[in-house]
């Protein structure tokens, strides 16, 4: 008996998983080849963007779209399989995980179309500054940004007034406020560092060199630099005092703090209000407000991070390339779709129309849209999306470290080691 045909669930799982991937691939391939006759455009989307693509189809009946809802968890892997089989690539893809762009742009993948020549320059210039930065390689552009998740500062205006505090503008003021809060009102929090959120809410805004892509073969990783240690020390001080939680913003126990109205403030992405504060923290209307992202006292600009935001990709193998580009451009820029989009559009003219709708919502205590608009261009573009998974690697080290009781002073060197190893295994030269 062949030991590989052993305990069915174990060995089966790996084989079954590979078979399932191949099955999905061959279904996609079979489906695509069935429609090869007309220049049909194969669209892969998630459930949230599906209505948008359907609206495009309705508005353009002469164009044939085949829209498929797909889970894009292993999307770069699926593209690898299509490359091996030589056909089946989706023509237009909405990818909710911008971090995957690094793997898709790795040498040898050769899947994405260069949009810099295919999308009119006036259109490209109206995107928020840095919105398309993850997809830029040299002079080429490989995606169009759908939405931005710029980090801003959420605070409870009522609590701030009751406690007599003023809204911090700098990280130093934030730290001082956190320490004061821990003394005067223990149990209240000013942020959450767990669950891997720290990389987006604290380290990215501080411009810590997590994995800056210098060029196609070099990354800069330096967790010992001033940019990283300054925010690490701040977090250590506030975590020790108890005003920054080791939980994640989306954790059930942190949401409990929200329902008990113990969250004084927290850095968070622009979609936090609609999707987390309202339904999970259940903060009463008229209390939550939003302020500009914090800056360091010695610096003139406030930088922030991007906690999400999706991208539209176009395949260079598309039979109807211009048609596919038009679909992607329409989805990213049209007022018909983006005005009612769930999150802040990256295309600024559409964002202004979106804002008019948001302004009508009386939930927040101040005008959140003008803050979102002003901070849209402040996402640090140097953050970097190399061809390895930075989010998973960071979370795996920092969250495990926090839960084990380590301080960032101990976690930062571990991050340095792990990131350096992963980068070198992925073929990069690591510089400081």
């Amino acid at each position: 008996m062949n030991p590989l045909r052993s305990n069915p669930p174990f060995a089966h799982s790996r084989t079954v998983r590979a078979l399932m991937t191949l099955g999905v691939v061959s279904l996609g391939w079979a489906g695509h080849s069935l429609a090869q006759s007309s220049d049909e455009i194969l669209v892969w989307t998630d459930a949230t963007r599906l209505p948008g693509f359907q609206a495009y189809q309705k508005a353009h009946p002469d164009v044939k779209l085949r829209i498929v809802t797909v889970d894009l968890a292993d999307f770069p892997a699926k593209i690898q399989l299509f490359n091996r089989s030589g056909s089946g690539w989706p023509d237009v893809v909405f990818d909710g995980n911008t971090g995957q762009i690094g793997q898709l742009l790795a040498p040898g993948v050769d899947y994405l179309a260069d949009l810099s020549k295919l999308v009119p320059k006036p259109t490209l210039s109206k995107f928020a500054r840095g919105a398309n930065a993850p997809c830029v390689q040299g002079a080429k552009l490989y995606c169009l940004r759908n939405d931005l998740a710029q980090g801003v500062l959420y605070y409870n205006a009522k609590l701030m007034k009751d406690f007599g505090y003023s809204v911090p503008k700098t990280w130093e003021e934030y730290r001082a406020l956190g320490l004061k809060l821990a003394k005067e009102h223990p149990g209240y929090v000013v942020g959450a560092a767990g669950g891997g959120g720290d990389q987006f809410l604290y380290f990215w805004p501080s411009r810590c060199e997590v994995s800056q892509v210098v060029n196609a073969t070099t990354v800069r990783i330096n967790f010992a630099s001033g940019n990283c240690t300054r925010i690490g020390t701040l977090l250590d001080d506030l975590i020790a005092a108890g005003s920054v939680s080791k939980l994640s913003l989306f954790d059930g126990d942190f949401a409990k703090l929200g329902t008990e109205n113990k969250i004084l403030m927290t850095p968070g992405p622009s979609w936090l209000g609609e999707y987390i504060v309202k339904p999970l923290y259940k903060t009463p209307a008229g209390q939550m407000a939003v302020a500009m992202p914090l800056r360091w006292a010695g610096e003139r600009t406030a930088w922030t991070g991007g906690f999400g935001g999706g991208i539209y990709l176009v395949s260079k193998h598309a039979k109807n390339l211009q048609g596919a580009v038009d679909v992607a451009t329409w989805m990213a820029t049209s007022k018909e779709y983006q005005t009612d989009a769930p999150t802040f559009p990256a295309y600024l003219p559409a964002a202004d129309l979106w804002g008019a709708k948001v302004k009508a919502d009386k939930y927040f205590a101040n005008d959140v849209f003008s803050i979102f608009r002003a901070s849209a261009g402040l996402i640090d573009p140097k953050y970097g999306f190399p061809n390895y998974d930075t989010q998973g690697t960071f979370t795996n080290v920092s969250d495990a470290g926090l839960k084990a009781g380590k301080t960032y002073a101990q976690i930062l060197p571990e991050l340095q080691t792990r990131f350096t190893q992963v980068a070198q295994a992925a073929g990069y030269t690591v510089v400081k």
């Binding site: 030991p3 305990n7 770069p76 998974d389 073929g427």
Partner: protein
């Protein structure tokens, strides 16, 4: 030696039976060829040649070197060996133990219990891992008070990296012991009752009956269990992978086990050749262990009586 005059008439019956046997094995053989042997040969080719490059150059042991010198390889090997070191002894003691207990006094109760023991095996890999995550979360689990007593305040402390081999061994034992209890119980039922009666007449206690009479007669099945469990456990993949994704990268590791490392080579680093090399390595180890055990225990001998 007696010459049986009846041999010639039995030959057609035997060859018909042999034909039936081949027919029964045929689907398995076809599947083995399609999803076992051919992919293994393809992996062998992929590990030595760069198939996607023009001219398919021969790379010798280059990809094997990449795979085995990767910074995660030693840790992954250590993790898998720690897991096997906990799980295999538990299986070797637990499975015959439970089967022998069930066999002491067969009744409707034992029928029901065999089904109860088997049920966890019916829940497939990834679904059962999600159930286990629920079981390991002190706030939600029915075993919550026990977990809190042991000092675990959250699922992150239960599934912290040092505890993972034990957690996986527990999961694997619950999932697969039932399956093997059914097999071993079947073997016990095949023991001739005369042997058991003779032992009782000779003054065996129940304990001696189990350990001195029944156990030696089922060692072949335990050997089989050892071979298959080693091969399956050495290729552990679903449990560490699902815990990694379900915890949004907080727990476990994308390359905790060797199979995960091979998966990571292929699908995260686009290095199919290194992945193939590592997979061939896993195959060679599992095959070697199987062959060693088979030849050391004369597994396929057909003379001598046993179950």
């Amino acid at each position: 030696m007696t010459v049986s005059a009846a041999s010639p008439p039995t030959r057609p019956r035997r060859s018909r039976r042999a034909g039936h046997a081949y027919l029964l094995v045929l689907p398995y053989a076809v599947l083995l060829l399609l999803v076992g042997i051919l992919p293994a040969l393809y992996a062998l080719l992929t590990s030595f040649f760069d198939l996607e490059k023009a001219g398919t150059p021969f790379r010798g042991l280059f990809h094997y070197q990449t795979a085995f010198s990767d910074f995660r390889f030693t840790a992954a090997l250590g993790h898998v060996l720690a897991f096997l070191g906990l799980w295999l002894p538990a299986m070797l003691v637990g499975v015959p133990g439970i089967a022998l207990l069930l066999h002491v006094r067969p009744s409707r109760f034992t029928e029901a219990m065999r089904l109860v023991y088997y049920l966890p095996s019916a829940v497939t890999g990834s679904a059962s891992v999600l159930v286990w995550i629920f079981m390991f979360t002190p706030q939600l689990s029915p075993f919550g008070p026990l977990l809190k007593l042991l000092g675990f305040s959250s699922v992150s402390s239960v599934l912290a990296t040092p505890n993972l081999p034990l957690a996986f061994a527990l999961m694997a034992f619950v999932a697969y012991s039932g399956y093997w209890v059914v097999v071993v119980y079947g073997a016990l039922q095949g023991i001739s009752p005369e042997v058991l009666e003779a032992a009782v007449v000779d003054g065996c206690t129940a304990w001696q009956l189990a350990l001195r009479v029944k156990l030696p007669l089922i060692t072949r099945y335990l050997t089989l269990m050892l071979i298959l469990s080693f091969a399956g456990g050495f290729q552990l993949f679903v449990e560490p992978q699902v815990i990694y994704s379900a915890s949004l990268s907080s727990l476990s590791n994308p390359a905790w086990s060797l199979s995960q490392l091979a998966y990571s080579f292929a699908f995260q680093m686009a290095n199919f050749s290194a992945s193939a090399a590592l997979s061939i390595g896993l195959l060679v180890v599992s095959l070697s262990v199987a062959l060693f055990v088979i030849y050391r225990t004369d597994f396929y001998r057909t003379d001598g009586g046993d179950a």
